[in-house]
């Protein structure tokens, strides 16, 4: 621990020598940590550094193999999640734990519904009033009677936080809370975090986005490969230093988009409408070009990419690939035409959890890997594919036979990227290619995109991470309510312009 840290204040939560072992893996190795009252404590580190494991120990999901946790001086050894709740520790995981079919109020009070002593009937009025009060504290306006499934991701996030507050959480732990939020929503969330701190609660804040860490945290603890690197005061450090501590080596955190000579148009969208949102979108993507798609969450990005991939039928308009009519009616058609696709939802529409890394990587190209009269799968060809793409993306696995569900999120993402590349990679449709991915892997993925475009690939990239969107694309197309409101090139390609277009719908670089 850094000696520069002020130790006068007594910690609320004190972790010492925490070790967590799984068969074959030591996920945490003798980690020390102290969380004070009224502080925002950032927990940073690359994927696989042990952050999620630490959170799950605090949340009562994992039992440590060694070490202790003390809560206000007393030993805290939760055996199940309900123990954590009872001690006022609320962990908000990346994957929400809400009931989508229940209302907001029912979720906020899940497990501790106020009820009448005589009839055992739930007091809905009291729940609604309590919700409004909690949302008041958070400075947001969400209808307590809305069904959670109908809320946006950011609203669901806020419901999770309200639930933690309502349960009188004194230590609130947030795992990548902004991963799916737009810039405006992130600002609102950071305000909420500051409010929580000002109320004297402690917030443990896990994020890959360092600008958020610097915007909101008082101290930061850096983990690497399951070990504590250091705890330091945010005021006494800067981004470069933190990145160096996280990765243990120097990394250029600024994206370099190498300019590529303009190629011919590979993919053309002409007045395409699809799904519920997407209206009248026209777009050219050239060989060697990265077209970034920006906008607030749900502005039509998913519809656009799925339409190109044949997963969503067009309602109007048409597409061309290499000057030929391109009308994929299924993803298989798009794959056959050489379009690779990365879904934004890794868990639900990406990984095949019961299958190995090799099997996950090759699932879209099995046709190419069959041989002989009986068209059987060739194990050698599959392993060659794994070696080729797996090593190019530096997938960290014990080997091709490891189950993908055993890898960290960032490594799963690399396998899925390899899957998207395997069909040939002339046209790549990448949704949030670095969501939930650590900074080292992020740089590798960006370098790979450069490499692919240098070889002539045409890339459409959706990203809600503004520096990434601007840094890795040649042209940024901003969507708002399903329409193109901004085409930002050259000098116009600024964060401000993206935000203005996305949030106000004002047009830049597009005829009205």
């Amino acid at each position: 621990m850094s000696p520069s840290v002020d130790t006068a204040q007594a910690p609320v939560l004190e972790v010492s020598g925490l070790t967590v072992e799984f068969p074959g893996v030591r996920a945490l190795d003798g980690v020390d940590l102290d969380i004070r009252a009224g502080e925002v404590h950032a927990l940073v580190g690359e994927n696989g550094a042990g952050k999620s494991t630490l959170l799950k120990v605090l949340g009562g999901v994992y039992t440590p193999s060694a070490g202790t946790v003390r809560l206000r001086g007393e030993v805290y050894a939760p055996r199940r999640p309900s123990d954590a709740h009872a001690h006022g520790i609320a962990v908000i995981y990346q994957e929400f734990t809400l009931f989508p079919d229940l209302t907001v109020a029912e979720n906020v009070y899940a497990g501790r519904e106020p009820h009448s002593r005589w009839s055992r009937g739930i007091r809905y009025g009291q729940m609604r009033a309590g919700c409004r009060e909690l949302f008041g504290i958070l400075g947001v306006n969400i209808d307590p009677d809305a069904r959670v499934a109908d809320l946006s991701v950011s609203e669901q996030q806020l419901v999770e936080i309200a639930k933690a507050l309502g349960a009188d959480g004194q230590v609130i732990v947030m795992d990548e809370p902004t991963a799916a939020l737009s810039k405006e929503e992130v600002e609102r969330l950071l305000d909420v975090v500051r409010r929580l701190r000002d109320e004297g609660r402690s917030v443990v804040y896990v994020s890959h986005r360092l600008e958020e860490v610097f915007a909101v945290a008082d101290r930061a603890t850096i983990l690497r490969d399951g070990r504590l690197v250091r705890t330091l005061a945010i005021a006494a450090t800067d981004e470069d230093k933190l990145v160096r501590l996280m990765v243990g080596r120097d990394i250029d955190s600024v994206f370099h988009r190498e300019a590529v000579a303009e190629g011919r148009v590979v993919l053309r969208l002409d007045s395409v409408s699809a799904g519920r949102h997407l209206r009248d979108v026209s777009l050219d993507v050239r060989a060697g070009e990265v077209v970034g798609i920006g906008g607030v969450a749900g502005a039509g990005q998913a519809e656009l990419t799925q339409a190109v991939f044949g997963a969503l039928p067009l309602r109007a308009g048409h597409m061309e690939l290499d000057g030929q009519r391109f009308a994929p009616s299924t993803p298989a058609d798009a794959l056959a035409a050489g379009v690779g696709f990365l879904h934004e939802d890794r868990k639900h529409a990406g990984i095949l959890p019961d299958l190995s890394v090799r099997q996950n990587l090759t699932v879209t190209v099995l046709d190419r890997l069959r041989h002989g009269f009986a068209r059987l799968l060739s194990r050698q060809a599959e392993e060659r594919t794994y070696t080729e793409y797996g090593s190019r993306l530096r997938v960290r696995a014990t080997g091709p036979e490891q189950l993908i569900s055993e890898l960290s999120g960032g490594n799963q993402q690399k396998v899925l990227l390899a899957r998207a590349l395997a069909p040939g990679g002339r046209v790549l449709v990448l949704n949030e290619p670095t969501r939930g991915v650590d900074i080292g892997a992020k740089a590798e993925i960006h370098a790979l995109i450069n490499e692919l475009t240098a070889a002539g690939a045409a890339v459409i990239m959706v990203s809600s991470d503004l520096p990434e969107l601007l840094g890795t694309s040649d042209r940024v197309v901003v969507l708002s309510r399903g329409r193109v409101v901004g085409v930002l090139e050259g000098q116009d390609r600024t964060e401000e312009n993206v935000v203005v277009c996305a949030t106000t719908g004002r047009r830049i670089g597009v005829a009205a």
Partner: protein, 333 residues
């Protein structure tokens, strides 16, 4: 990273993978051996050639639909209608034979009926979007009704040497059902481990949405699997009718549970994503050994049901324990 690194990693992982594959079927082999030893000591007939042949033939007969069901369960779905398919196939084949058609033709027609039932299941599940449980439950009732209506409630008794050969014949001294099972098992192992189709089935069972977004023809594969189960149910029906020399609307009652039970006891997860062909075979042998043993010990049939039910609970508990232990712990480390 050097290019040599992944290869080194492969070698390092291999012994562990091989070991875990070797002990995968241990939960089945151990009780099987124990029961065999107990029966050998407790009865004087268990270890006779005739009795063991009976066990193996019975296991083989249930293994054929079980292997098809393995695919279906690996796909994350299951088919409750096979018992009714058994009845309808046997009824159609026997009625055709009674009506003077050649037995070979009658058997082919029977199998086509099985395939048709499978196709119906597949289309209702994929095109109408009905969940497999409900869709195949409906088919179970409908097909049973069709079978009863078709036979008019009477047994179609046949004496066809061709049909009889299916269950009672021998090829080079090996009983026909065992030959059929061996062929089916090899084919199933091949499909699961070496073909694109088998990989796709497991991919769909593991994450259907991801499979769809990977360009897999999900509905076509699902339909095909139901047709395979239908045909396997048809083969089962022919074998049963061959054994009994009759077709009837009453045959095959509750058989669907036998087929599903041996798959689950064999270790194929009901959640889908993985298929164990060897496990299903062992599951079939285990169940038939228990049945045989209880018969030899003169236990009333009701106790057979109870013991197989208990075995199912034990198998599912083992599955649940395995699932909750290391795999989940490694998630998101």
């Amino acid at each position: 990273m050097t290019t040599a690194a992944p290869e080194r990693a492969v070698r390092a992982a291999d012994p562990r993978a091989r070991l875990s594959r070797a002990i995968e079927n241990a939960p089945l082999a151990v009780p099987l051996v124990l029961i065999a030893v107990v029966l050998t000591v407790a009865t004087d007939r268990f270890l006779s050639v005739d009795n063991l042949t009976n066990v193996v033939v019975a296991a083989g007969i249930v293994a054929i639909p079980g292997l098809a069901m393995t695919l279906c369960i690996a796909m994350g779905e299951f088919d409750l209608s096979v018992g009714s398919t058994v009845s309808l196939t046997g009824a159609v084949t026997c009625t055709w034979i009674v009506g003077g058609h050649p037995a070979g033709l009658a058997m082919v027609v029977g199998l086509l009926v099985g395939a048709a039932v499978g196709l119906l299941n597949g289309l209702v599940v994929t095109k109408l979007g009905v969940t497999p449980f409900i869709a195949t439950l409906a088919t179970l009732v409908i097909v049973r009704g069709v079978s009863l209506a078709y036979t008019g409630g009477r047994d179609a008794i046949v004496s066809s040497s061709t049909l009889k050969f299916l269950a009672a014949g021998r090829v080079f001294g090996v009983p026909m059902p065992v030959v059929l099972t061996a062929v089916t098992a090899l084919a199933a192992w091949w499909v699961v481990n070496r073909t694109r189709f088998g990989r796709w089935v497991c991919a769909i069972g593991s994450n259907r949405e991801a499979a769809r977004m990977s360009g897999l023809p999900v509905d076509r594969i699902r339909t095909t699997v139901y047709v395979i189960v239908g045909v396997a149910g048809g083969i089962w029906g022919l074998l049963i009718s061959s054994q009994l020399q009759k077709g009837s609307g009453q045959l095959g009652l509750g058989f669907e549970l036998d087929a599903i039970t041996i798959v689950v006891i064999g270790g194929t997860s009901l959640l889908g994503g993985r298929a164990s062909v060897v496990g299903t075979l062992l599951g079939a042998v285990l169940i038939e050994t228990i049945r045989n043993g209880l018969n030899l010990l003169n236990t009333p049939p009701a106790y057979q049901r109870i013991s197989i039910g208990l075995l199912l609970v034990v198998a599912l508990t083992i599955q649940a324990l395995r699932r909750n232990a290391p795999a989940e712990a490694l998630d998101d480390v």
